[in-house]
Symmetry: C2
Subunit: 405 residues, 2 copies
């Protein structure tokens, strides 16, 4: 029965997501490889109460089949929140609830991508997005990420050369994996390009509310007047990932199409989860919860940057994010960070990170590292980053010696 | 931006699932169109307790990211249950938890179907399965459903003519929409055909445990010794649909491929749901719960058959299921049941059913009706089916008059 699987499974065979997670670090190991919020910050007591209250209020009804697009009260809340915090016009009809942000990416890919269709992605970009897109065999065009986000000159040349490009995927705020934020001017310009070259922008914003410094920038979608932007967000980083709840905000015509695909993919998201989440939001203040988390993550970010500044060799460069979960390290070209991870960091230092190559559509760059700071405490950061710096220094020195020889 | 969507959206444009549900019936309307279990039978108190116990026991851990394949204890339970009730060898590694049966169908389609690949379906078959398959633009081959299931002679001719057929989809027990059950001999023969013609059988079993009469038949998968059968089931009908939890049982090599696609599609199913479900199963007896529901559904089925026997015109034929949720009516060829529904049953009788055409891959038959008996009580059945019989009689008579004129 060889060859019986669809073509997409061969493309998928590299299994990007599985590659992300390092080997066994043992009890004292320090994981900089994760992408998760700190579970100590989850409002477990309030969520437990929310499940109870939701079941008490709605009884057996919430265990029946519900609606494809998701619990109306929750969609109303999300629409209101979108209006107030994002300056985007929205009603419940502009919202589709999804199984976390990941399903949003899957459904949007399903909606747009025929085999071989063009999609622009940042280089580097979120590995889970690549994994979603690859199910539909797209043609990737990657655009360099600068300190202020996408290189728009490079993008425009691409758009001129490939008028078939349908979709552009970007994480404008504290990007995963780099922590980079797209500048205000570039946000405006990007929407103009979408109008001129007739493509859709998939604006993915899981970290948007987790800013520790500087001022919030308007979303790309807030500049969109002709329906070219599809805005995706999630409760995974601001509340808890285990609920698996995200949402899409877009023109009704797009939401209607996506809802049909959602129905065919999994019918609907669990009513009990959505009702409980809505109950949590009614009984608590989500924004207060977010604000309370900020100083904790901020301190971890500041600590990590301090240790990096102090310990890293001069030829290692890194981003200085204003929010999110990640810092991105660029090592000298000759260093293969996968090798560094497997040969030194995991077995000797018992620390993990994600080697940069998995974040490139074409996997052609091997000298970068994604570090997570949200899931580790300051002590772990100090110990772990010091070890990492030492190991990087050794491999740079060894390499220089080799070159001299 | 016309034509910007993927081809699958045009094919999907008929929106099979949306077509299923009739218009507004008002307060006293009687819905034979649903496909749901009776919410009065949901063990809400026990499930509420299970959520509490799960959160008490596992705390914030269950709100973190979990594993792609789903909570290990639950997969262990499902593997044990599969061994004991189905005589199928299985460990947790043979199980993938999905968002209800619907996601199982989506993932299996994703795994096998390239554009234009051949898939055999029953005529008629489950509309949600068609809706899942159509996302991948397959080539449908349909096989007539007889009183004892698939017409295997017709199937074998198809297999000879189309060696490219990859997949066959069947609901062997109390099929949706017909209530028909595949005979024992045909189950064995089907596996032999799969081995001979090298295709996979997708055995979908949501109603399997809901038998009200006669003896349980072995699953198709229990005759499978070379990994040709993928067994799908769900908690939606035997417990509650709102949990959105189903599972796939298959060879590890298939489960591994499906898990990758699951990760790319929605990462994982919510940990809190799976832990709570597992808690329910640990603290209660699922099989006892199922056994307690059987006489209630049985009585509804018996009542519906009695009223049909008493009231239906002689040229209306119907199935006599031994389990499940549905009875299938075949009217004289000339009657269009969609028209009957829209013009008479909804506006005048205030009853709904699903017109048979949505259950055909090619939508070429218009004279059948799916009736649900699980979501209505005996009084509703007596009133509603009497009205339906009268309306059918009128349309048959009118039609005869027309023919005479």
């Amino acid at each position: 029965m060889s060859g019986i699987f669809a073509d997409r499974t061969t493309i998928n065979s590299e299994n990007r997501l599985a590659e992300m997670f390092g080997g066994n670090l043992g009890k004292d190991g320090i994981k900089f490889s994760a992408g998760n919020p700190d579970p100590e910050l989850f409002p477990v007591t309030q969520i437990k109460k929310a499940f109870n209250n939701a079941i008490n209020e709605y009884g057996n009804q919430i265990f029946e089949y519900q609606t494809i697009s998701g619990f109306k009260k929750l969609r109303n809340y999300l629409a209101q929140r979108t209006i107030h915090t994002e300056d985007i016009k929205a009603t419940a009809n502009n919202i589709l609830i999804t199984q976390g942000g990941q399903q949003a990416l899957d459904l949007i890919s399903k909606l747009f991508l025929n085999n071989g269709d063009g999609i622009v992605v940042e280089a580097p970009t979120y590995v889970g997005a690549l994994s979603a897109f690859e199910q539909y065999n797209p043609c990737y065009y990657d655009v360099t990420l600068k300190e202020d986000g996408l290189d728009l000159e490079q993008l425009e040349l691409l758009l001129q050369a490939h008028p078939d490009i349908k979709l552009l995927y970007t994480i404008p705020d504290f990007q995963n994996p780099t922590g980079v934020t797209l500048s205000l001017n570039k946000r405006k310009k990007l929407v103009k390009l979408a109008e001129e070259y007739d493509f859709f922008i998939l604006e993915d914003t899981p970290y948007r509310d987790l800013r520790y410094k500087g001022s919030r920038l308007p979303s790309i979608k807030s500049f969109d007047h002709h329906g070219h932007v599809i805005f995706v967000s999630s409760f995974s980083k601001i509340l808890m990932p285990g609920l698996r709840i995200g949402w899409i905000t877009a023109d009704k015509s797009i939401i209607d199409q996506l809802s049909k695909l959602k129905a065919s993919s999994d019918l609907e998201t669990s009513g009990i989860l959505l009702t409980a989440l809505n109950q949590y939001i009614e009984d608590n203040n989500l924004d207060t919860h977010i604000v309370e988390m900020l100083p904790i993550y901020q301190k971890r970010l500041v600590t990590m940057l301090e240790v990096l500044d102090e310990k890293m060799p001069a030829d290692v460069h890194y981003t200085r994010p204003e929010g999110g979960f990640f810092i991105w390290l660029t090592l000298p070209d000759v260093i293969d960070t996968q090798k560094l991870l497997n040969e030194t960091c995991i077995p000797k230092d018992r620390i993990s990170f994600v080697p940069g190559k998995v974040f490139y559509a074409h996997k052609n760059r091997r000298n970068s590292i994604r570090l997570n700071f949200s899931g580790v405490n300051e002590k772990q950061i100090k110990i772990g980053i010091s070890k990492l710096a030492k190991s990087i220094e050794s491999v740079i020195t060894a390499n220089k010696v080799e070159t001299l020889l």
